[in-house]
């Protein structure tokens, strides 16, 4: 047993007072969770403390909160760990702070309104399978790895920790967001779904869709189930842009292509060219610029002028798009060769399938697995 101090963000809507902090001391085994701490408070000190919880085992997804500012599940965070984190930089006297999740209205204490935020966004992505035609007589025959692949997003418990942590949503509450986009991948990646292109089109064209993710990894860090929502968003972009060739109004596809082409030609980034090519690629783009491109170019003129004035872009190769130097010697040739090689194969190594997180992936184990399957583990009578 050990003593822990919990500093809890309280909000009681009925008296109509603003939120406040309240400290509680609990005495518990350090291996128990922050949720166990909150439950001890509720059981022994103040039964009015509200927190959603059920399974206590990170399966039901009820107890999403912020602990020491980090969005997570209260049941999955050990008290000892939370205390250590709270005291990383100062002494050993700081309490564990527990707040309701971010990017959602608070109903009471640690209970947030997920319906008007999280669930509305989930429903935004048409979250059910839309199979092509009638189902087969038996099961759909699909590649085994495709099912493991989408099982990564099925592992989502809809706790909202990623939504709480999302830094794009903080700046744009309309952003479809990490949980809903991961849910979207669950169908886009499912070979049984018949509306892949329509789904991608929808999410690529939406100004609050896949191209509004700011690539901050906050969702990847927050997710208690290894769903890695941002990775799924990047895969949506990859499939929308490359596989389906969707030229979105948000400039996502054009920006990606411009970037990729510049590196192929120059090896390093030519920012001026990137800006120009992102908005109005190639000659064709300049003669007949895509929708929004002219406005976007104009929007960027003040920034470009400032870059010139401050000396950032005073030399010719920084001012004029396209004179940026290539890599020295034959290096650029090798980069181009790499492009050809990678475009030919386009291997997408999925670490969720590989199980890298736990340090797997060496050859012996693959052999072991094969051997195991030969012995009839799979599908044979026990």
């Amino acid at each position: 047993m050990a003593k822990f101090s919990l500093k809890v963000r309280r909000f009681k809507p009925e008296p109509g007072e603003g939120p406040y902090w309240e400290n509680f001391d609990v005495d518990l085994d350090p291996d128990l969770s922050v949720l166990d701490g909150l439950l001890q408070v509720r059981d022994q000190q103040d039964g009015s403390l509200s927190v959603r919880c059920s399974c206590k085992a990170a399966i039901c997804g009820s107890c999403g909160v912020k602990i020491n500012g980090q969005s997570t599940l209260a049941c999955k965070t050990r008290l000892s760990e939370a205390k250590e984190w709270a005291n990383r930089s100062n002494g050993n006297s700081e309490p564990i702070t527990i707040e309701p999740m971010g990017n959602m209205p608070v109903i009471k204490d640690l209970v947030t309104d997920m319906e008007s935020t999280h669930w509305q966004k989930i429903r935004r992505v048409t979250p059910w399978l839309l199979p092509k035609g009638d189902p087969p007589e038996r099961e759909y025959i699909v590649p085994p790895e495709s099912m493991i692949d989408v099982t990564q997003t099925m592992a989502c418990v809809q706790c909202g920790a990623c939504v709480s942590a999302c830094l794009s949503m903080e700046a744009d509450p309309d952003f479809v967001g990490p949980a809903a986009l991961a849910k979207a991948y669950r169908f886009v990646g499912d070979p049984r779904d018949g509306e892949r292109k329509e789904r991608l089109h929808d999410l690529a064209q939406d100004p609050h869709g896949i191209y509004n993710c700011t690539h901050c990894f906050a969702c990847v860090e927050a997710c208690p189930k290894g769903v890695a929502p941002m990775d799924q968003i990047m895969r949506l972009r990859r499939i929308a842009g490359h596989d389906e060739d969707i030229d979105d109004v948000n400039n996502g596809r054009r920006h990606e292509l411009a970037f990729v082409n510049i590196i192929e030609q120059k090896g390093t980034l030519d920012e001026a060219l990137l800006l120009q090519e992102s908005f109005a690629p190639g000659i064709k783009g300049k003669l007949k610029p895509p929708r929004g491109a002219i406005k976007a170019l104009f929007d960027n003129i003040p920034t470009a002028l400032r870059a010139i004035r401050s000396g950032k872009a005073r030399s010719a190769e920084k001012l004029v798009p396209g004179i940026h130097p290539k890599l020295p010697g034959d290096a650029q040739k090798h980069v181009k060769r790499i492009y050809a090689h990678a475009e030919e194969h386009r291997i997408e190594l999925n670490l969720y399938i590989k199980g890298e997180e736990f340090g797997g992936g060496d050859d012996n184990e693959a052999e072991e697995l094969a051997e195991n399957e030969l012995q009839g583990k799979e599908g044979a009578p026990a």
Partner: protein, 302 residues
């Protein structure tokens, strides 16, 4: 590495430090000289892809970065970068390359013609911030300070790519990497300003796709830091610098705030404390004026 020997790195400066933020590349060279860190520049190396190439073709991003790692390994030296984004993008590719031997062999196949091959064994790639704390040492840095940044209130701004996800960025072994900027500011004699945005996103990755959202992020953090009384921000990421500094007047328009906050590159802040002339460090090349910062520091006594 034995303390007697000087540090020596295969140095990847990244694209932006030689493009829109040449003051970063320049100041790094000056600071390295002062600290007696030897840098062997990887001038044949290519862009890390900044996550954008991976978004296009994962294998391409992995191969391009494997090439950079292999070039570094040819020098026999550990690798150093000066850009959070390079660190993050390269660590992501490296995670995949290190996880699967067959995949690595496939990627190395594409490098063979140039006589290159990436071998995870013993390879190291660190941002200058990590090098400063883990290899150089804060005490040693402190000893080198000739112009302590006394009274200078500095807000740290990390950049997402050196913060998250922790399991990919070596936090298992170095759990305090997300506190290093504060430690460096203090070692240089400055005062750390706590504000909400230190570990948030600058918004740069969506500047061409979702301009307003991007600028709102930058503007919010700048405003928060100013409200907290910061004299300047410091960042190890030149892309954050672009959004926080070059776009600052635009961010001001979007957030409706009167923003005026200098944003220094990490080597610039170190350089000031080491007594290097602000002009040489390129402090005149910023959009947001750095005059306020320079005026607050004692002139260097010759």
């Amino acid at each position: 590495m034995s303390p007697a020997k000087n540090l020596k790195f295969a140095y990847w400066p990244g694209c932006v430090s030689r493009g829109f933020t040449t003051e970063l590349h320049g100041s790094m060279a000056l600071v390295a000289e002062k600290l007696e860190i030897e840098l062997v520049e990887l001038d044949r190396a290519n862009c890390c892809g900044a996550g954008v190439i991976a978004e296009h073709n994962q294998e391409l991003a992995d191969t391009l970065n494997a090439r950079t790692f292999a070039l570094a390994q040819q020098t026999g030296l550990p690798m150093m970068n000066i850009c959070s984004t390079c660190q993050g993008a390269q660590s992501e590719c490296r995670q995949r390359l290190d996880a699967d031997k067959a995949y690595r062999e496939h990627v190395n196949g594409a490098l063979a013609e140039e006589g290159l091959s990436y071998d995870p064994e013993g390879f190291s790639n660190k941002n200058f911030l990590w090098v400063l704390v883990e290899d150089y040492g804060l005490q040693k840095l402190k000893n080198r300070v000739v112009r302590p940044l006394e009274g200078l209130r500095v807000g740290p701004f990390y950049g997402c790519y050196v913060l998250r996800p922790r399991h990919r960025l070596g936090y298992d072994q170095h759990p305090e990497r997300d506190l290093y900027l504060e430690k460096v500011i203090e070692a240089l004699g400055g005062t750390v300003v706590e504000y909400d945005g230190a570990r948030k996103c600058c918004g740069f990755p969506v500047i061409t796709m979702s301009r307003e959202v991007s600028l709102r992020q930058a503007g919010t953090h700048l405003g928060d830091a100013m409200d907290a009384g910061a004299d300047c921000l410091v960042t190890p990421c030149p892309l954050c610098h672009l959004n926080l500094d070059m776009q600052q007047p635009e961010a001001a328009k979007v957030t409706g705030k009167d923003l005026d906050l200098a944003v220094l590159h990490l080597p610039q802040l170190v350089g000031l404390a080491l007594g290097i002339d602000p002009k040489e460090l390129g402090l005149g090349k910023h959009v947001a004026s750095t005059k306020w910062v320079i005026d607050r520091l004692e002139p260097v006594s010759a």
